[in-house]
């Protein structure tokens, strides 16, 4: 609590100007809210960067942690009080402050951005070793948040930022481990699968549309923009193992398709016969693996209700079969699957009919 009359005796509060007409969507603020924000506006107008201003932002943010203007003002005050930077002790204090405001499941953009802004300074000022330690500490913090909500989008995005920023080989490796732990906890945690992709690609973007100038597959593999052939094999295997645990789980299937399509597209793009035959082999192998799983599901239905069609599996198969645009047999197989899916996956029947029409068009 702030004793306004004493601390800000020299300041005239500035009321909120809500326009010339009665405002819409106005809020019946509590008196303490009005008082705090009236003084805040007065200080903002003077751009006063003092300890008492810092205390006032603390109070205002407790009253509303989503006020981005106050967060920005607070950072400017911190920089000023630190003589042009924010010292490490102040960073620690403010990280704790943001943590307290967020509660157990922080989902507000400002809190997460505040952490990034502070840590950016900490990382920049740290020696390499200290930087890694600081990063690990922050990763632990994020882990605590993910314990509570394993799919918190901000938290996963924050992890990515930390690891991308440090770009340290050990951190990349341990992040693959971390995503594996989370996938083991819940193979349906799609955020964890997504994190695995991020970690295996070391945060590099493989969007072919964006790659611009031509680079060969080999070069892309060397840079790690796309997975090496061995790693692609391993990751495809990993995904299939995940699919075997629960074939009705969409996440491993899409991860599998992602891994395979990346190799396929790159080969197509380079139009190099060696690359293409490698990709064909990879995909052919995986098609037979998937079919094997399909048959075992038919023979030993995992669900009591009988052999419920496995939409995720069938969808993955369609995606792979339709790549073979010169193989009529495989295309017919894809088309038949689309027809079956239009029957069993009724919510997507129009989509499957379109897919079928596309396949038929190629034939």
């Amino acid at each position: 609590m702030i004793d306004f009359q004493t601390v800000f005796s020299d300041i005239t509060p500035v009321p909120q100007n809500e326009g010339k007409e009665p405002p819409v969507c106005s809020i019946a603020y509590a008196p303490e809210f009005i008082e705090a924000y009236d003084y805040l506006r007065a200080l903002l107008r003077k751009d006063e960067r003092s300890n008492r201003a810092l205390d006032l932002t603390t109070l205002c943010l407790k009253l509303n942690p989503a006020n981005y203007t106050v967060w920005h003002y607070r950072r400017m005050i911190l920089v000023e009080l630190g003589g042009g930077g924010i010292d490490d002790a102040a960073i620690t204090k403010d990280l704790d402050f943001a943590d307290d405001l967020g509660g157990t499941n922080p989902k507000n953009y400002q809190l997460w951005y505040h952490r990034r802004a502070l840590l950016e300074i900490r990382f920049k000022n740290a020696t390499e070793e200290n930087g890694i330690d600081a990063a690990k500490k922050e990763l632990k913090y994020v882990d605590r948040i993910l314990e509570d909500d394993s799919k918190n989008y901000h938290a996963w995005s924050h992890r990515q930022w930390i690891i991308r920023t440090m770009n340290n080989s050990d951190l990349w490796k341990s992040e693959i481990e971390y995503s594996h732990t989370k996938i083991k906890d819940d193979p349906r945690n799609n955020s964890a699968w997504s994190q695995r992709w991020f970690a295996t690609h070391r945060g590099q973007v493989a969007s072919f549309a964006g790659l611009g100038t031509f680079i060969s597959c080999d070069e892309l593999r060397k840079k790690g923009v796309i997975l090496s052939s061995e790693l692609a094999d391993e990751e495809a295997h990993y995904a299939l193992c995940g699919a075997e645990i629960d074939p009705y789980n969409e996440s491993p299937w899409r991860y599998l398709i992602g891994v395979l399509m990346e190799q396929w597209r790159c080969a197509q793009r380079e139009n190099n016969s060696h690359e293409i035959s490698k990709a064909v082999e990879l995909i052919t192998n995986n098609i037979s693996n998937i079919k094997e799983l399909k048959h075992s599901l038919k023979d030993n239905p995992p669900l009591k209700e009988g052999a419920a069609p496995c939409v995720s599996l069938m969808s993955a198969l369609v995606d792979l079969l339709e790549l073979f645009v010169e193989n009529e047999e495989l295309l017919k197989e894809a088309s038949n699957l689309c027809k079956e899916l239009a029957e069993v996956d009724t919510v997507r029947r129009k989509y499957w009919r379109k897919r079928d029409a596309n396949v038929m068009n190629i034939i």
């Binding site: 500035v14 909120q16 326009g19 819409v24 969507c25 106005s26 809020i27 019946a28 809210f33 506006r41 509303n64 942690p65 989503a66 006020n67 981005y68 203007t69 920005h72 950072r75 951005y113 799919k151 996963w156 995005s157 990515q160 991308r164 770009n167 193979p187 349906r188 945690n189 799609n190 997504s194 991020f198 590099q204 973007v205 969007s207 549309a209 964006g210 790659l211 611009g212 100038t213 923009v225 645990i245 629960d246 009705y248 789980n249 969409e250 996440s251 899409r254 398709i257 992602g258 891994v259 990346e262 669900l303 969808s315 009724t346 919510v347 997507r348 029947r349 129009k350 379109k354 029409a357």
Partner: protein, 582 residues
Amino acid sequence: MNNTTPRSQHVHTTATTIAQSETEDEVSPFFIDLSTLNEDSLDHLRSVGLLPPAKLPDDDYDDANDNNETPRRSNDHFNPLAIRLLRSAHTAYLVNALSDPLSRGFVSLDASHPWMVYWCLHSLDLLGYFDDDDEPSSGSTSGLMSDVLADVEVLQKGQLLSRIVSTLGACWTEVAVDILRDEVMGDARLRLLHHQQLEQQSAATDNTTCTVPQQDSSYTAIQAGGFGGGPQQMPHCAPTYAAVLSLSIVASLGLSKSNTHPYYKAGREALNLLSDKRLQMYAFFVSLRVDASQLYETNIVDSTAFRMQHDGEVDVRATYCLLAPAHLLGLLLDDDNVYQHGTNDDANTCTNSTNLLTTSSISRHIASCQTFEGGFGAEPHNEAHGGYTFCALAALRILNAVHTTDVQALRGWLARRQLGYEGGFCGRTNKLVDGCYSFWQGGAVAVLDGWLLEQKHTDSDSMETVDTDEQSNEILFDELLLQRYILLCAQDVKGGLRDKPSKQRDFYHSCYNLSGLSVAQHKVCHTWPCRDVDASKRNDGLNEMFGDAKFNVVGRTDPVINIRVERVQFMLGQQFHDSDSD
């Protein structure tokens, strides 16, 4: 149509499958076959408005649908079990939210005032709240009590629109930005704005001899601006988006009426405000650019992202939140158009000019946010997510760059987001249904389907064989199931809409459920902006309808901008004159 679809399946029980099963349990009572209910239960549903009154008065449809010119055709057979949109309850909830002070619990939205205004105003507009209100019959001789009441109502609505403009105007704030001098000189809009501001300055400093400041600096100081989350807050992309969309709605509502109509004044003020501020917004948007190739160390050269605010987070929302208002305000036009409209001589003499908000580096960054799943994340490598996917796709549509992404992967991902049992959409793979994704995902499907349809139309000019079925403008998702989720599970009988039955109603979910309902009801438009549909004819180009078809129709939203197509059409018809006078 109350048949239930199969529930989801799993072999291995996890936290996700438990939550999913709980949600299916939660919604299943709403899917009960109404014909099995006893008369008491049906009476209850009638009393809350979910079912039509037992005996339908002849003018019942007129109450709901005041612009309904065609009388009910005799073959419209009355279905007593047709579920209804709770029009009057939602309207009351939203009007109340706008006009009366909100309780102190709403302080968490104190930095989102323009959002609240947009959510409520756009929802009301979709509900047809402002449609076809005649001018007050002052001087009319009828003197009927009902006419007088109608007049009072129109005046009150006009008053509400004026208050909206005043409130949003109070959220406008300016900020000084430094932009590379070469960029200012190379961009017709910035050059004009800079010129205007220099003239104002010299006028203010009382005709001192012409000073040309910053001659030696590589940066030019410009007074930029945008809307903040409330009065005296910093400008921010998100409230700027919400404010510009809201003001566009008011401008279109008011200026399509005669100048004696109670809406007119608010409409004029709204358009003046937008017209006065548009170049400053452009400068603000330009100042939010970030070199994404630096930020993400990607292998992509020359890629541009945006911050949500100065000293704020970078994500693909920002790109959309500034491109949508820029589009409405004619700020993305080729520079030829700026020369024509500008009255400034300097602008006419400049030969080299680029629009800094339409460069290919912007779409390149958006494309890099597409994930292996097919949807888009907030930043490169973030998990595919409905909200960001909508922003990415709509922004690409505005930039005319949808083709730079993996369209088939995106289409598949969007299709997989509709849940078979619930009928609504989820935001991410293996997440739960939520009413707001009715628009984020459903709207994205409409944007993508519209773009594909447009491609087909363009192609078919040259190609001989045209598969008529392929040209269908039926939306790709299951529109009946989505409408069913919204009408049965997302409506609160007290008014307002919600995420799912166990969640509280709020303005945000009211807006995006109703927007999703609009997308589910109306056929896909093969042009964007939508021109070929006479939007004033409500029942034109409808998809299959769930429940009380005629009663439930809401206005047609533009799926890229998310205000009604008439509002977009109005704004795009404006010629903004960036003159020095005024």
